[in-house]
């Protein structure tokens, strides 16, 4: 047993028990389908081993019995007639055509092993990228597969890796760690824990946490702490319900977040409202930050951001005067081209106010497995890493997730520089539908590969367009696992209760294939033994943790004062200066600006006024809805009923001005492309801004490429984005700040 004594909750019953003629299994709800959290669930099965019901587990401190629509409707996902339940192969000559041939697992794994080995021997293992999507339990297992095979090209295929990774890499570079808000999630007794207190103010920035549930954060913790007194400042272009409840709603022009943060910093610094003691003892480069912020007076920031001056000043004062505060930030920070300076400026708002490592402030999340580090970093040799695509150009790729640059991989696919790529392993990713800008260019580029494997639960537009082998993956009800993901980690198990067809878990697939490639890197006899290895530091085996979970790592505040945030045990932060770097040594050494700055989006009313005349709306994309996770759930009846069509939200006055009506099909179009949407007129939008759903396809539509890949080619809003244009650091891209026009779809289109 380890010396660490984990904190547990008391369970009335074992993790499996019988109740009213059904069998109940307690566990964690983590993926598939995709999700960023992992609530405690009770899975009910009948005597035939069929999953009949899912309930939230009231004993689990994480969600306390609550569930969102997607877990409540899980039975419809598990037993969807659209599931792919056997391995399949297709002749690469027929990519994009529905010409699949069912094969056995042995045939499938032999085929993948043979082709990957052949490519490795001829061209080097690095010529096969391993690609994941978001929100599924995959980072640990795909990194180990890639690295044990010999490929350093593990990646998340979004321009600028513009989802979470910029904030993770940015925080790691400037503070030595990632940070999350303290909502008591690290304690089993939660809000009753005597050490904890609710944040006085929560600044919700570019995030709708109630729906997004991102980064290990259960969104309705917001409501829990609001009931306990937390007040809100909300930065959002839309009037979300949280914005409605906020003391300050800053209705920002999309893509100007860095300017707003710098403007608020200027108020806080020039009015001397910051935490002198914390800044003096623990921060580096304050004077340079102050000088930088001074260039952003409130009146100038108001004209950039469209947020009234008095609100900028009022919100900044309120924030800085708070006893304790949390920034609950989201994807909008990543999905702007210069995302790192934006993250750096927003980070400075909590750093100079000293809202670090204190109750109700920002904390470094406790971890069992360093999630961003992947599983098996020691397998990456210097020779391998020398072949990581983009690392020579973007040295920040050393921080956070050890990924290849998606933008550079795109160039490599097209130019064969620095070397030609030959294969791909695409697991839990539907990137042509969801994350890739310019889907047609992306499809063409990935098609150049000799051999492509897709692992997923459903046939997707990406698999239809690209795959030569399709391996069917499980939902979480069909597999064992451990919930070790983003956010504050705790020991949780995912417990198998049913089987669908021949589907296997992503972990099982990677274990079986991994040990063929590199048996020494996969020494475990089965997945349970592998999970036990990962959680060895907890002192529990997988089977023990099934009974005990959830198990909480003992937590304490003020770790920077106690030498608990640096590997050398010294006080301070894990940076070169040992301090939080408001002026970043690393950015400076990497040739990047050491202090934050604002740059206009590539297209905007300010940067391209002529285009703005032709395309009169600022287009933001990707807001989430209550029923779907990114490109998933479109074929699940009760969930699709909640969001039957892809929508674009437009202010009613703006809709009238351009002659479109509520419920009408329209085109969104700019110089790069167009996509179809249904108008939703709503007052939550500024008249100058529209919000489009993302990641749409119609599983019910014809799937072959000649018929439009399940409608995806007409529905993909990413056709309107810059085609692979990341920020200077390689991180960030403008997914939420393009220009476009809106006009009705004609009959027959």
């Amino acid at each position: 047993m380890s010396e660490t004594k984990y904190h547990l909750v008391e369970h009335e019953k074992p993790f499996k028990y019988d109740e009213n003629g059904l069998h109940v299994t307690r566990g964690s709800a983590w993926s598939g389908p995709g999700c960023h959290i992992g609530c405690g669930v009770l899975l009910y099965t009948d005597d035939d081993g069929k999953l009949v019901k899912v309930e939230g587990d009231p004993e689990n401190p994480y969600n306390k019995g609550r569930l969102c629509n997607r877990c409540l409707a899980l039975t419809e996902v598990v037993y969807s007639p659209d599931r792919i339940t056997s391995p399949m192969k297709r002749d690469p000559a027929h990519r994009g055509e529905d010409k699949w041939e069912q094969i056995t697992w042995d045939e499938a794994l032999d085929l993948v092993y043979d082709r990957f080995t052949e490519i490795k021997e001829k061209y080097g293992a690095w010529s096969i990228p391993f690609v994941q999507g978001t929100g599924r339990d995959i980072a640990a297992w795909i990194t180990r597969l890639a690295w044990s095979f010999g490929s350093p090209n593990y990646m998340f295929n979004m321009s600028g890796m513009a989802c979470y990774l910029p904030r993770v890499a940015g925080c790691a570079a400037t503070t030595g760690n990632f940070w999350v808000g303290d909502f008591s999630q690290q304690y089993p007794d939660r809000y009753d824990n005597p050490e904890w207190e609710p944040a006085e103010y929560i600044m919700v920035w570019g995030n709708n946490p109630l729906i997004a549930n991102s980064d290990g954060f259960y969104g309705h913790w917001m409501v829990d702490v609001m009931k306990r007194g937390s007040k809100l400042i909300v930065v959002d272009p839309r009037l979300t319900w949280l914005a409605y409840k906020a003391e300050y709603w800053l209705q920002i022009r999309p893509g100007t977040d860095a300017a707003l943060a710098l403007g608020m910093l200027n108020v806080i610094i020039s009015e001397d409202l910051y935490d002198h003691d914390f800044v003096d003892r623990w921060c580096y480069g304050f004077d340079e930050l102050a000088q930088t912020a001074a260039a952003y007076p409130a009146d100038k920031v108001a004209s950039i951001t469209w947020v009234p001056e008095e609100k900028i000043v009022g919100a900044a004062r309120t924030w800085a005067n708070a006893r304790c505060g949390i920034v609950q930030w989201g994807l909008a920070v990543d999905t702007t081209k210069e995302s790192l300076p934006a993250a750096q400026a927003i980070g400075a708002l909590w750093q100079i106010c000293g809202f670090c490592e204190k109750p109700g402030c920002m904390i470094v999340p406790p971890e069992i497995l360093a999630y961003s580090g992947g599983f098996g970093g020691e397998l990456v040799t210097p020779e391998m890493d020398a072949h990581r695509i983009g690392l020579d150009k973007y040295s920040l790729l050393k921080f956070g997730f050890q990924v290849a640059s998606s933008d550079e991989v795109m160039k490599t696919l097209e130019t064969e520089e620095p070397y030609k790529l030959h294969g791909a392993w695409l697991q839990t990713t539907n990137f042509l539908t969801c994350t890739s800008p310019d889907p047609e260019r992306s499809m063409k580029a990935w098609r150049t590969l000799d051999f492509i494997v897709v692992v997923d639960m459903f046939m997707t537009p990406t698999a239809m367009a690209l795959a030569d082998v399709f391996l069917p993956a499980c939902t979480y009800a069909e597999r064992d696992g451990i919930r070790v993901g983003d956010g504050a980690q705790r020991g949780e198990t995912i417990n198998k209760v049913c089987q669908v067809g021949e589907c296997k878990s992503d972990m099982q697939i990677n274990l079986e294939l991994g040990r063929r490639f590199n048996p020494e890197a996969w020494p475990w006899k089965d997945d349970k033994e592998m999970f036990s290895y990962v959680i060895e530091c907890t002192g529990y085996t997988f089977e023990e943790l099934q009974q005990a979970a959830p198990a909480y790592i003992p937590f304490e505040y003020h770790r920077h004062e106690k030498g608990l945030l640096r590997p050398d045990g010294q006080p301070g932060f894990n940076t070169q200066t040992g301090r939080i770097e408001l002026w970043s040594t690393f950015y400076n050494n990497a040739g990047l600006s050491p202090v934050p700055y604002f740059e206009e989006p590539t297209e905007s009313p300010e940067s391209t006024p002529d285009l703005y005349e032709e395309y009169p709306f600022v287009l933001t994309t990707g807001a989430r809805n209550w029923f779907m996770f990114h490109s998933e759930h479109r074929q699940i009846p009760h969930l699709r009923a909640g969001r039957p069509w892809p929508i674009v939200q437009i202010n009613p006055k703006a809709a009238e001005k351009v002659g479109v009506h509520d419920g009408e099909w329209v085109w969104l179009e700019n110089g790069r492309g167009r996509c179809k949407r249904v108008v939703e007129c709503t007052e939550i939008m500024d008249e100058r801004v529209i919000m489009s759903d993302h990641a749409w396809w119609f599983p019910e539509a014809p799937g072959e490429e000649k018929d439009g890949l399940f409608g995806m080619l007409d529905l993909n809003v990413n056709k309107l984005l810059n085609s692979y244009l990341p920020g200077k650091s390689g991180f960030g891209a403008n997914y939420k700040s393009m220009l476009c026009k809106v006009y009705p779809v004609k009959e027959g289109e």
Binding site: C68, L239, W249
Partner: protein
């Protein structure tokens, strides 16, 4: 009101997440489009200045049996159990009605 039960909704906190509807549909196996509970929306509209109207609240219909099977076993109705905002309370009407005066934006549904 003796012996009668109902649901108190503190709709000041209802976020409109629809978990009550989905929990109800799954518990009772209702077809798409039918439920014992439905989330209604009031707004959003600008009343004046910075003041908005933007509320959600669940209302209960004829297909709500207060989850008689569940409550007989000592469980909560499926909607109350899964309400993400924890804004629904199940209990005897006389006890719940005593809570109504505490603050505004509450409704009590007799069922």
């Amino acid at each position: 009101m003796d012996g009668k039960y109902g649901i108190l909704v503190d709709y000041d906190w209802c976020t409109g997440c629809h978990s009550c509807e989905m929990a109800c549909q799954m518990e009772h196996g209702f077809p798409i489009g039918q439920s014992g509970v439905q989330v209604c929306t009031m707004g959003p509209w600008l009343i004046e200045g910075e003041t908005w109207q933007y509320d959600f609240a669940p209302i209960f219909g004829d297909q709500c049996d207060l989850c008689a099977d569940r409550t007989a076993k000592g469980e909560l109705p499926a909607c109350v159990h899964h309400c993400q905002a924890n804004c629904m309370t199940y209990g005897p009407l006389d006890e719940l009605s005593a809570l109504l005066a505490d603050h505004r934006k509450q409704t009590l549904c007799a069922l």
